[in-house]
């Protein structure tokens, strides 16, 4: 340690020595744009060093430099210029506008990318820098607090578990709100819930989002639904997460290695009893090695990224290992033909503990009061519980293995100078094996079978393979007239997905085996979903005087999950964008100095969600009943079943103040889900199962505000921040005359769909104090909405020379959540905090559910990170970056529990997830991470 420090110190002294002997003089000057307008905040740097400054409000700068050194002048939207320091001590420079740089290109999924300024819709973009600085191993962790208008709620701290992701409120009662995920144009498995035949570990559902590789991401675009997703068709109404991977950059190859070491600690912040932590928590270590190569020639570029990760989590059961690599490349096959390919592999293994809804779960037993008030147990009693818990932990055997491959191919052919053909073809294959072995020893330790039993072990194994093929062919034509420009896209797309699950269950087993062959009773079940979706789409984007744009488009969409009486659906979109600040008169007017960007946008678009494949068919089932075949009625069927349709219109304004140092965007959206897919309770007298039908209507409307500010732009200090605030008003405007139906939770306190209420609102019996001192009970009363109607995120970035610091956080308020652990404690008579004596013990807690329902408000700091960039000071490396990061360091919540936790939330495959029940699983842990990255 000491020798390293000495080495570092001497290196710094050498650098300082070099600086102090340079021949310096003071250079001053003004940086303007091509029209002579001063550019405040423009960067002036000495090439090859980390020394630099920025211009003041009048575009003036001062910098010390030596003769012969090269000054580099740069500003967003302008071409970078270089000037060599000569005899003169004043260097004025006019930067030319860089059309390319100004026009950030958005990959809208179909056709070529399109310039952001032409779009009437908003897209949240997360760039490589934001991604790389996070210690995230999952895509949802990256999105959290980085996508300004998305709500990402981590439902459990256990590895690979699902996060509830939503943007503009819940639009569907028939699916989770998880967006479509597209990697390099290819749809990938986005199952964000337990699979149909998944293991019943009590909760903490697993997610396919957890194993999308996060290495080598160039950028992520989060498209929030509405008109922006019309062209994606099919199930894009919940939005689209578009991941674009790195394909390499022309130039000298860069190679990096990064080592990350972290300490993972379970958080006690939300626990009722510290003793729960004492029994279960056990700080773990995470180790990750990351490696990458990026480079290329004029004709061929390449990128490789790989990672090896392992942690043993914050408790005594969970572990995870992750191995992944991605590579991408781009090739100029000919003058006209370009080819881009990418491939990724993830291998993910983890172990889970029992959660929530099973009495095998130690966590929910401790927190739910099964053993009484833990604080009241004597030391001896508690010691016995710890010993019991310690005996169980090594016997818990729930493990998962996932292998995933994603490959994308994209061909671009320039037919003429302004007509381009794009073809994309790719596949995603994800195979998972979930296994649970409940040995006799485990069951004895849990007290569920008598001591001495040797023949009641269980084995369950779920094998799921998901395969998605995507193909897209489109033609993009651009045409510029003097005052008008046209971008026309015509294309066709199809994707086909299959989800095949097999489950094996063995019982009557002895201990010491995980082979189904060694169980005396073996049963099997399978489940298949297959869907093909295909559509034709077109888009016409007309530029008027390069300031206003009119967008017209549509998609004709057909899906095999629709009933036989239905036909293809046409989804139109229309949008208008007016970049007022792009007018020449505007730029020349004084207004530009105050409001540098002024953009108005409005659009209307439709998008759909299709029902689960095969849910349109009338079916029967044959059960095995005591080794005899047994028929039963299955799904009643619905030949009129069609996708639900979300019609969205939105208006927005983007404003940039102080030469775009302060940017403000506001959007109003109003989305109506027509023909909403509801599965109301069939009348019990029919004796038939519930059938999904297009009978509902749901409305979501709200505002999205986003503010980004570059507060400091000095020679050394830079400070910027971003804040977002979103509102959502959700209402089920019609249930088509059907009775309210339950979409989550429990029999008497659940998430419900009912006309005039928010989707999935909490319903239960409430107790209200009357004037005479007694309590009146109202059944089926509303306990509030599960989706917080107000939410947002914030980030703060500060840098001082080579040191940088960032903080990200998010918040929500206005929603409700049931603290189910508390409810259980009340039910078991061990906790009565806040419950009136007239009620506690006098009547069922299910008669006073309002006393166990709380606000789900929180403010959480998700990450604090600091890094120091050594630059090329540590040769032979071009750059060395040392960083520290703390995940989940601080939080403030309205209740005493974690309102993100939904231990029993997302049980059914791709089912609606209200997240209205906090229960029975650990919160995301606190992670302290150090990393050292070497680049050469």
């Amino acid at each position: 340690m000491r020798s390293k420090f000495t080495w570092l110190l001497s290196l710094l002294m050498v650098i300082a020595f070099q600086f102090s002997y340079a021949q310096e003089k003071t250079i001053t000057g003004t940086v303007t744009d091509q029209d002579g307008l001063p550019l405040p905040g423009a960067s002036v740097r000495i090439k090859g060093t980390s020394t630099g400054t920025q211009t003041d409000f009048d575009g003036n700068y001062t910098i010390n430099a030596s003769t012969g050194e090269v000054l580099v002048f740069s500003f967003v939207g302008q071409k970078t210029e270089e000037k060599t320091v000569g005899a003169a001590s004043v260097i004025n420079i006019a930067l030319e506008q860089d059309a390319q740089a100004l026009e950030e290109v958005i990959v809208t999924g179909q056709g070529s990318g399109i310039q952001k300024k032409r779009l009437s819709t908003t897209v949240d973009v997360i760039d490589a820098e934001q991604i790389d600085r996070l210690p995230a191993t999952q895509i949802d962790q990256i999105l959290q607090s980085n996508a300004p208008s998305a709500q990402i709620r981590l439902s459990s701290g256990q590895p690979g578990t699902a996060a509830i992701i939503r943007t503009r409120g819940p639009i569907s009662a028939a699916s989770s709100s998880t967006p479509v995920v597209i990697v390099d144009g290819i749809r990938v498995d986005n199952l964000n819930s337990n699979p149909e035949l998944g293991l019943d570990t009590g909760g903490a559902s697993v997610s396919a989002l957890a194993d999308i590789p996060v290495e080598s991401i160039e950028k992520i675009e989060y498209i929030k639904g509405g008109a922006a997703t019309t062209l994606y068709g099919a199930d894009a109404a919940n939005g689209v997460i578009q991941i674009i991977t790195k394909k390499g950059k022309e130039g000298k190859a860069t190679v990096f290695y990064e080592g990350r070491v972290g300490v993972i600690k379970g958080t006690k912040d939300y626990l009722e009893y510290d003793r729960t932590a004492e029994a279960l928590f056990d700080p773990g270590v995470s180790i990750e090695h990351r490696f990458g190569i990026n480079g290329g020639s004029e004709k061929f570029t390449y990128n490789f990224g790989g990672s090896l990760y392992e942690d043993d989590s914050f408790n005594d059961v969970n572990e995870q290992v992750r191995r992944s690599f991605t590579f991408g490349f781009g090739a100029e096959v000919s003058d006209k033909l370009r080819y881009q390919g990418s491939f990724s592999y993830t291998g993910f293994e983890n172990t889970l503990d029992f959660n929530a809804n099973t009495s095998f779960s130690r966590f929910s037993n401790f927190e739910g009061g099964v053993f009484g008030d833990l604080n009241e147990l004597s030391d001896a009693e508690w010691q016995a519980e710890i010993e019991r818990s310690d005996a169980i932990a090594p016997l818990v055997d729930i493990n998962r293995k996932i292998n995933r491959f994603t490959a994308s191919n994209k061909f671009t052919y320039d037919i003429t100078g302004n007509l381009q053909a794009n073809a994309t073809l790719g596949v995603d294959y994800r195979e998972s094996k979930d296994e649970e072995v409940d040995s006799n020893a485990l069951q004895i330790a849990l007290g569920s079978i008598p001591e001495g039993t040797t023949d009641q072990a269980f084995l369950s194994r779920v094998l799921r393979s998901s395969f998605t093929t995507t193909a897209d062919l489109n033609f993009t034509h651009s045409y510029d007239m003097e005052n008008f420009s046209f971008v026309s896209i015509l294309g066709g797309q199809f994707f086909r997905s299959s989800d095949f699950q097999n489950r094996l269950d063995g019982s009557g087993g002895v201990d010491g085996t995980s082979s189904i062959n060694n169980f005396s009773i073996r049963t099997a079940s399978d489940f298949l979903l297959e869907n093909a979706n295909y559509g034709l789409y077109f888009l016409e984007n007309i530029g008027i005087y390069n300031v206003a744009y009119l967008e017209l488009g549509g998609r004709l969409d057909k899906n095999t999950s629709a009933g036989e009486n239905t036909s293809a659906i046409f989804l139109p979109k229309i949008g208008v964008t007016y970049n007022i600040s792009d007018h020449e008169f505007y730029r020349e007017s004084g207004l530009y100095n105050a409001v540098s960007t002024l953009k108005l946008r409005a659009n209307y678009g439709e998008a759909t969600n299709f029902a689960q494949p095969f849910s349109q068919d009338k079916t029967f089932a044959l059960e095995s009943f005591l080794e005899q075949p047994a028929f039963r009625f299955d799904q009643p069927g619905n030949p009129d079943l069609v996708s639900e349709l979300v019609k969205t219109y939105e208006f927005g304004v983007d404003l940039g103040f102080l030469y775009n140092r302060l940017n403000f965007g506001v959007t109003y959206y109003n989305a109506t889900t027509e023909d909403a897919l509801f599965t109301p309770g069939a009348p019990p007298s029919s004796g038939q199962l519930n059938q999904i039908q297009n009978i509902g209507e749901i409305e979501n409307k709200g505002w999205e505000f986003e503010l980004n500010a570059k507060i400091l732009q000095g020679q050394n200090h830079n400070l910027s921040m971003g804040v977002s605030y979103n509102t959502n008003e959700n209402l089920v405007t019609s249930t088509g005359g059907s009775a309210p139906f339950n979409v989550g939770g429990f029999t008497v306190i659940g998430s419900w769909v009912e006309e005039g209420e928010s989707l999935g609102y909490l319903r239960g019996t409430i107790a209200e104090l009357q004037d005479d001192g007694t309590y009146a009970f109202t059944p089926n009363a509303s306990l509030g909405k599960t989706f917080a109607p107000y939410f947002g995120s914030l980030n703060l970035n500060y840098s001082y020379k080579n040191f940088s610091l960032f903080v990200t956080g998010d918040y929500q308020y206005g929603g409700s959540i049931v603290d189910l652990s508390f409810l259980l404690r009340v039910l078991r008579g061990v906790d009565s905090e806040g419950i009136p004596d007239e009620l506690f013990g006098q009547t069922s807690p299910f008669n006073y559910t309002n006393f166990v329902t709380f606000d789900n408000d929180f403010f959480k700091i998700r990450n604090i990170g600091a890094s120091y960039r050594f630059g090329d000071a540590l040769k032979p490396f071009n750059d060395v970056i040392l960083s520290f990061n703390v995940t989940n360091p601080f939080n403030w919540t309205a209740g005493d529990f974690d309102p993100e936790i939904t231990g029993s939330g997302i049980g059914t495959q791709n089912g609606f997830s209200s997240g209205g029940f906090a229960y029975g699983t650990e919160s995301a842990p606190r992670i302290f991470l150090t990393s050292l990255k070497f680049q050469f």
């Binding site: 569920s448 093929t469 029967f620 059960e623 009943f625 069939a682 009348p683 029919s686 004796g687 078991r828």
Partner: protein, 474 residues
């Protein structure tokens, strides 16, 4: 020339790619539902037999719903920690209770399955036979019987008018008659006897009970449970299993009869005897008592004892059960505890294996039978015996005269029923509603060796024998 060949080959390739021969490779829209369609069920040889097994399975599912509610709702069991019904323990019967809704659904599904068998599957099967047809009629009748037993009114068709409990019993009798006419079985007669019993039709109840016993004096009709493929026996989980949130605790007077259902094998859960010869003896004995013929009643009760003595007693390891699980020792858990002045009712479970009757058990003795002095004494003893014989079989709830309600889902969709209609209002006799809080209440000081139940419900039932709701022969 070369060009010509190339073009021809290319053209041939393109053309052939568009034919059916290449469909498998290029048709991406073909999907097939692997599940069974109606054509795979109806019209296939032997489908009526497979359909019948399916109905047997439906009966098991129906009993799973009924038994939890009925046993909690009666004084048999108390709910110490469970996510099963939160309400029935206190006889809190609501139209919004999803468990009651599911019970109605299961009863209706049993009917629909039986009718689909009778009307569609059976006639289309070349191997359809009268035994199967008789079973279909029996199950249709069973659906009406359950409707009558547990609900004051239920529709007999989808969104149909509400049929009263009595009319459902009459429909049941009609179906049982059809079954009997095709293939008489003792349980068909007993089911008919039960319907007549609850209708208060003593003559026909007695006739059917005698017909049943004439065919077999020890018959049992079981609902079976498949431990591997389901349905598993929910009551077994509640009484014996310890893997989920459940712990039903019996009234201490019934401790020796618990758990009726316990671990059988990895492939099969304990079956539920839902129609058994004991019931015929009990009906005959009660008829005799109410006819004032005590000596004949005493003989019937002795017949019953003889039958019970032949029933299976299972020797099980019940160490994990506890009294109770959450608070061990808080309820009587030792053989030396005397309950209501009677000893031998409580078992010690933490030592050796224990004997528990799996079909019928009773504390009734020859000397008790011999000592019967008057009609009420006889009825009290008879009702105590009914409670014991039928524990965990859902009968006690019906004997208490309590009825469930049509639930919200039906009310909102069925034009024939509105909130407030008689079928939506729980039926709880006043002498029951006044003691709801005491149904499961016991007085017991741990370690004291004596325990009492707060009330003796059998006494209360007999004291109110003139009520229409209970003791139907009075």
């Amino acid at each position: 020339m070369k060009k010509f060949i190339y073009i021809n080959i290319l053209a041939a390739l393109i053309v052939s790619s568009c034919t059916d021969n290449f469909d498998g490779a290029v048709d991406f829209t073909d999907v097939e539902n692997p599940n069974l369609s109606e054509q795979s069920v109806v019209g296939q040889p032997n489908s009526s037999e497979i359909w019948l097994t399916g109905i047997e399975r439906e009966v098991s599912l129906t009993l799973n719903e009924i038994l939890i509610l009925a046993e909690l709702g009666s004084d048999n069991y108390v709910n110490t920690q469970t996510f099963y019904s939160q309400f029935l323990d206190n006889l809190d019967i609501r139209t919004t209770d999803p468990d009651i809704r599911d019970t109605q659904f299961r009863i209706a599904r049993l009917r629909e399955a039986a009718l689909f068998g009778l009307e569609t599957v059976g006639p289309a099967d070349v191997n359809y036979n009268t035994e199967t047809e008789a079973e279909y009629h029996f199950f249709e009748g069973l659906s009406y019987l359950f409707s009558g037993m547990y609900f004051s009114g239920l529709p007999q068709e989808e969104l149909g008018p509400i049929i009263s409990s009595d009319d459902n019993y009459l429909s049941a009798i009609e179906s049982f008659n059809q079954a009997i006419s095709l293939n008489a079985k003792p349980e068909y007669h007993l089911a008919k006897a039960r319907a007549n019993y609850y209708l208060g039709d003593k003559v026909n109840a007695v006739a059917s009970a005698n017909s049943a016993l004439a065919l077999s004096n020890d018959f049992i009709r079981f609902a079976n449970f498949d431990a591997a493929n389901g349905p598993t026996n929910t009551m077994e989980s509640a009484l014996y299993g310890r893997a989920t949130f459940d712990d039903f605790q019996p009234l201490p007077t019934l401790d020796f009869l618990d758990p009726k259902y316990s671990f059988l094998s990895a492939s099969e859960d304990a079956p539920v005897a839902y129609l058994k010869a004991e019931e015929a003896h009990l009906i005959l004995a009660e008829a005799d008592i109410t006819d004032g013929n005590l000596s004949s009643a005493q003989m019937k009760m002795e017949d019953l004892l003889n039958l019970v003595s032949t029933r299976e007693v299972r020797n099980i390891d019940d160490n994990i059960e506890q009294r109770s699980q959450i608070d061990p020792g808080s309820r009587p858990d030792s053989t030396n505890v005397v309950v209501n002045g009677r000893s031998g009712l409580v078992l010690y479970r933490l030592g050796d294996r224990i004997d528990v009757p799996s079909v019928s058990g009773t504390s009734l003795t020859q000397s008790e039978i011999g000592g019967i002095g008057n009609e009420d004494e006889a009825l009290r003893l008879l009702y105590r015996t009914r409670q014991e014989i039928f524990i965990s079989e859902g009968i006690r709830f019906v004997d208490m005269g309590v009825k469930l309600v049509v639930t919200e889902n039906e009310i909102l969709q069925n034009p024939n029923v509105s909130e407030g209609d008689p079928s939506t209002v729980p039926v709880i006799p006043s002498f029951i509603s006044s003691i709801v809080g005491d149904l499961d209440k016991i007085n017991y000081e741990p370690g004291s060796g004596t325990a009492t139940t707060e009330i003796d419900l059998n006494e209360i039932l007999v004291a109110n024998k003139s009520s229409d709701a209970v003791l139907p022969f009075n």
